[in-house]
Amino acid sequence: MGEKVLMKGNEAIAEGAILADCRHFFGYPITPQNEIPEYMSRRMPEVGGVFLQAESEVAGSNMVYGAACAGARVMTTSSSPGISLMQEAISYVAGAELPCVFVNIVRGGPGLGGIQGSQADYFQATKGGGHGDYKLIVLAPASVQELMDLTVEAFDLADMYRNPVLLLGDAILGQMMEPVVIRERAKVDLPPKTWATTGAKGRPKNVITSLSLDPAKLEEHNLSLAEKYARISNEQVRYMTYMADDAETLLVAYGTSARIAQAAIDMARERGLKVGLFRPISLWPFPYDALQLTAQGSLRVLVVEMSLGQMVEDVRLATGNSKSVHFYGRTGGMTPTPREVLNEIERIVEEGI
């Protein structure tokens, strides 16, 4: 059992990266994630690492590309508008199969939007974001402890699959403080980075590129990516359930919304309503099969999100036409209260829909 400390969500991400032996951080200021680069600017020199404030998210994410090419464990963090600027580099690192970690502390959009917590970047995170056929591993923590633990794990997953990993938080998770247990890191067997461009000493040269002018070769490359994505889909599905066994109404929510949904479920249970929660932790790969199984015994599903309902499509893919799928959400940086969610539960239960 490790040391227990009170930490802010953003700081837990930064310290999680240090625990995971990340020694290269490139970032650009944007609210509500500034605590991460600020923490890293203090902490990296203490552990012999590199902190560099880039001139833009475009440059910062391309510095990540470079450091990953050189074999470093590397991370950058930002918030929604900044993550949009990073989509170029994200597509390139996915195409060149470079392990690295991105963090999006989501704020309300579109455009410059606002600075309050939001989950409106779900499509961008899970359905592409940048150009081309690629997937990120997307992890959605729901507590400060998970922000730290999943950050640590993100680096191992990135190295294991030679794939970028995106940690999807939001302003509320980033700003809130909770006790965190700093755990010993589990040692994972990882493949050596023989592909890295570290100088061609005693070996043929290594080249890292995402360019393939011959379409047959590019197709072959994309098919090998597809094979990898299928493997990740088999091996890395993560989710949790809460009071789901006898639930007639099954809530589906991730991150902050899952915390709110859980509070609403406790209130509903006090009123004798059989309500439970299914919480995807990996948003890609999405836990389609597990959700289908969990929802089998339920009469209805209610998706709760801090957006206009972006995960609803994946929930419908999982449950098919067998369930009525409802949605309750707030958008633009507004947060649903447990009472609001409870009202919606009561409404759909009463109406029997």
């Binding site: 560099l52 391309n62 510095m63 461009t197 100088g199 040269k205 890292i208």
Partner: protein, 248 residues
């Protein structure tokens, strides 16, 4: 028999795709010769741009990374900050460096990143078929300035060496050309000095080459060489632009 001339170890035997009369091939060779002479091939990482030199990684026999358009200095920063003892060079064209990558080159230079940039300025977008570049001369005809570059609407060409020379992080900067044996000799000296500047940890170094694009300029190779000497070198004077960095 003693071999007196051959392919540098840092070049592969792959024939380049460059057009006849283009000086990319000469510039590649000069870089390779310098890397050989400095004995750093096994710790050199090159970064190729988006542009005519996008496939430079096929021609250089050292580790190489292909960057997105204009981002080579940022990618180089990531590599050099990870491997401080390595030798990192970017190979960039004018659209890549002076247009879409203007922010990245300025900030890499002002940070004094210990990298070397080879900037190939041929006053046109070559690979995409001859569009106007940030370095296209006033009045110069291109496929997107068919009546000649009108500075009233398209603005003025950027003098990269002069612009970057004002930054204190720049330890060596020069403009050269490869239009004659004498100029090639001077150019090689500049490339060597730029790599030595990096290896000695002095800061950012850049060599701007005035280069040719006979195909898109609509000239013969000889006319193109002459156009560099007569026209480009007037707007972009050759020479050493290094200033003693001001402190504070």
């Amino acid at each position: 028999m003693k071999q007196v001339f051959g392919r540098p170890e840092t070049l592969t035997s792959v024939p380049t795709h460059y057009c006849p009369g283009c000086t990319h091939g000469i510039i590649h060779r000069l870089i390779a010769e310098v890397i050989d002479e400095l004995g750093v091939r096994e710790k050199t990482i090159g970064i190729s741009p988006v542009g005519c030199a996008v496939l430079a990684y096929d021609y250089f026999n050292c580790d190489f990374v292909e960057a997105s358009h204009g981002r080579a200095p940022a990618v180089a920063t990531g590599i050099k900050r990870t491997l401080p003892d390595s030798v990192v060079f970017c190979y960039q064209g004018d659209g890549d460096l002076a247009s879409i990558g203007a922010a990245e080159i300025i900030h890499a230079a002002t940070r004094g990143e210990k990298i070397t940039v080879i900037f190939v300025n041929n006053a046109i977008y070559g690979m995409t078929g001859g569009q106007m570049a940030p370095t296209t001369l006033p009045g110069q005809k291109t496929t997107t300035s068919p009546r000649g570059r009108n500075v009233e609407s398209a603005g003025y060409p950027i003098r990269v060496a002069e612009l970057l020379s004002s930054l204190s992080g720049v330890a060596y900067i020069a403009r050269v050309s490869a239009t004659s044996p004498a100029n090639v000799t001077k150019a090689k000296r500049a490339v060597k000095k730029a790599f030595e500047t990096q290896i000695n940890g002095k800061g950012f170094s850049l060599v701007e080459f005035l280069s040719t694009c006979p195909i898109n300029w609509g000239m013969s190779p000889l006319e193109a060489m002459k156009w560099v000497d007569d026209k480009m070198s007037v707007y972009y004077p050759l020479g050493d632009y290094t200033r003693v960095p001001e402190v504070g």
